[in-house]
């Protein structure tokens, strides 16, 4: 039966072709308790996936698109950006093709996953926003992110977000966005994967300052010699930190790091990783209306202990456990509670209360 070709059927075919193309380099990653997740073939023997789906460091299985199951070992992981790199043994996967050029809001995006051997899964949406820097839940800061309205079905974490030609736009990490579906742009993900392949981890630098963003005074703008609206006023320097070694002082306005302008703490934070750790790096401050360039040698940030997640139940109030505030405790033992006063962005000031679980009390 000859079917009539319309733009609709052409679109349908194009989307199915895109899914098929991306599916060839989307694999199943089985490394957590409940159900497997997805991964992308970064190179022939390297699989890039989300860090939160690789719960165990050993006994990792990867199921390739052709259905063959192979053992994989962990090359490295970066919980800060929620990426992990695996190496598969005695097998080859088809490396994924990444998109060229700019990712624009409004363009068609498909979320792809392969959480089971039944075949590939997909959902359709658009790129809702391209933004950054983004603060991730486990403390890292990404230079950018893609927000999409494609539904991330269970097991899509670690899978690709693709465009209508089957090229990769980003890697889905639904576990990180605050209830939204966020993808790490492919350029950033590939860069992190390259570092993971070489070093096994991403070094996060430690500077040792407390700061707040301020407008740069007009008289200092001349000394700065470039258009920059704000900088970071240093309000505290940690003892024995790289900042104090470099003679940074309270009252300095930090305006540049590693010859890049700094306007907010997130921007600074996203630069404090990778090669700058351990090597002398120029840091620009405005001191007394003059621009000074100092050398700072970042040390490595102590890794947060990967312990059991603290379970906290909200007893009443609003917001979520991430709105932390100063609180006080009352009661003793099992029924002990911590309550706090907090300001909610939409609801004003209110009181919240967490009841502590038995687990928490055992920790203390």
């Amino acid at each position: 039966m000859a079917k009539k070709e319309t733009p609709l059927t052409a679109l349908s075919k194009a989307l199915a072709d895109a899914v098929e193309k991306a599916a060839a380099s989307t694999v199943t990653v089985d490394a957590r308790r409940r159900f497997p997740a997805s991964g992308i073939a970064y190179a022939k023997d390297l699989i890039l996936t989300a860090s939160h789906v690789v719960e165990r460091d050993e006994d990792i299985k990867v199921i390739l698109p052709d259905g063959s199951q192979v053992e994989a070992s962990l090359v490295g992981r970066d919980p800060g950006s929620d990426l992990a790199l695996l190496r598969i043994e005695d097998a080859e996967a088809a490396p994924a093709e990444k998109t060229e050029g700019e990712i624009r809001p409004g363009q068609v995006a498909l979320a792809i996953g392969r959480p089971s051997t039944e075949g590939v899964q997909a959902s359709l949406g658009i790129v809702s926003a391209v933004g950054g820097p983004t603060r991730m839940r486990r403390g890292g800061v990404l230079e950018g992110h893609i927000r999409t309205d494609a539904i991330p079905y269970p097991g899509f974490s670690g899978g690709p977000l693709i465009d209508d030609a089957g090229r990769i736009l980003g890697i889905n990490t639904s576990g990180l966005g605050h209830g939204n579906s966020i993808a790490i742009p492919v350029e950033i993900a590939w860069k992190i994967a390259g570092t993971l392949e070489k070093h096994g981890s991403i070094k996060r630098g430690y500077l040792g300052i407390r700061s707040q963003p301020v407008d740069i005074p007009e008289n200092a703008l001349k000394a700065l010699g470039r258009e920059q609206a704000s900088g970071l006023l240093l309000v505290g320097i940690e003892d024995d930190s790289p900042a104090s070694e470099a003679n940074l002082m309270v009252g300095d306005i930090l305006v540049g790091f590693n010859s890049q302008a700094i306007e907010s703490a997130d921007e600074l934070f996203s630069l404090l990783s990778g090669e700058v750790v351990g090597s002398p790096t120029p840091i620009e401050v405005l001191r007394g209306g003059k621009l000074e360039t100092l050398k700072v040698t970042l040390t490595e940030r102590a890794e947060q202990p990967r312990g059991r997640k603290r379970k906290r139940r909200m007893a009443w109030g609003f917001g979520d456990p991430h709105h932390r505030g100063r609180g006080f405790s009352y009661g003793r033992g099992k029924g002990r509670k911590t309550s706090f006063r907090m300001r909610h962005p939409h609801h004003g000031i209110g009181y919240g209360c967490f009841s502590l679980d038995d687990d928490d009390l055992n920790d203390e």
Partner: protein, 219 residues
């Protein structure tokens, strides 16, 4: 390309218009209704089994004509029911081939979600998989779509880009994934039923009784 310069809109309008003419409202229970697909010109209407209650269902066509339908068959195993109405000038839907669908092909779900007649949602085939039935078939193929479904979509068609019926919207999974029975399963059932009812006129075909799908998230 149309006068307005829009690439897809005329085709979308055309497809939806055609499908709506072959879409029926099936009132099978006192307080709820689902959708139905006009299958052929003789008045065979396909819907979901869970749309039907104890009485004879009332079928309302797109041109507001109402008929009391006769139930030809109910198959709880695949949650399908086949009705017959004595009507003429029907506009049956084109039935597509659901066996060679691919993940990523675009789909439209047309039905009456929350009572809005003929509402359309758009998505793609997100998964082709199988489901275990509680009956002699054992395993049937199903398709899942990311087009949003809601109560009232039940029994309505899942349409492909060419405007053909490729599935019957049946269930919502996890709140955001729709499940459809492929049209191949339905046409097989209808073929069996029509053969049986041709032999003995006015017969009522019911496959051996099987417990139905779980009723909790049936739409």
């Amino acid at each position: 390309m149309s006068k307005s310069g829009s690439l897809f809109t005329p085709y979308l309008n055309g497809t939806v218009e055609t499908v709506r003419r072959g879409l029926a409202v099936v009132q099978g229970r006192r307080f709820s209704a689902g959708a139905g697909i006009i299958w052929d010109e003789n008045g065979v209407v396909l819907t979901n089994n869970h749309v039907l209650g104890r009485q004879n269902p009332i079928v309302t066509l797109s041109d507001k004509r109402q008929f009391e339908a006769r139930i030809l068959a109910r198959d709880a195993e695949v949650d399908l029911a086949i009705l017959k109405i004595e009507a003429d000038a029907l506009a049956p839907l084109t039935i597509g081939d659901s066996t060679n669908m691919r993940v990523g092909e675009i789909t439209f779900a047309i039905g009456h979600p929350w009572g809005q007649l003929g509402a359309v949602t758009f998505g793609i085939i997100s998964r082709l998989t199988h489901a275990q039935t509680r009956g002699p078939r054992g395993v049937v193929p199903i398709m899942r779509t990311d087009a949003r479904l809601a109560p009232g979509n039940s029994g309505g068609p899942l349409i492909n880009a060419a405007g053909e019926v490729i599935g019957i919207n049946t269930m919502i999974i996890g709140g955001d994934q729709g499940m459809a029975i492929p049209s191949a399963v339905a046409s097989e059932l209808i073929k069996t039923v029509l053969q049986q009812s041709n032999k003995k006129d006015d017969s009522y075909y019911e496959p051996k009784h099987t417990p139905g799908w779980g009723q909790e998230n049936v739409i």
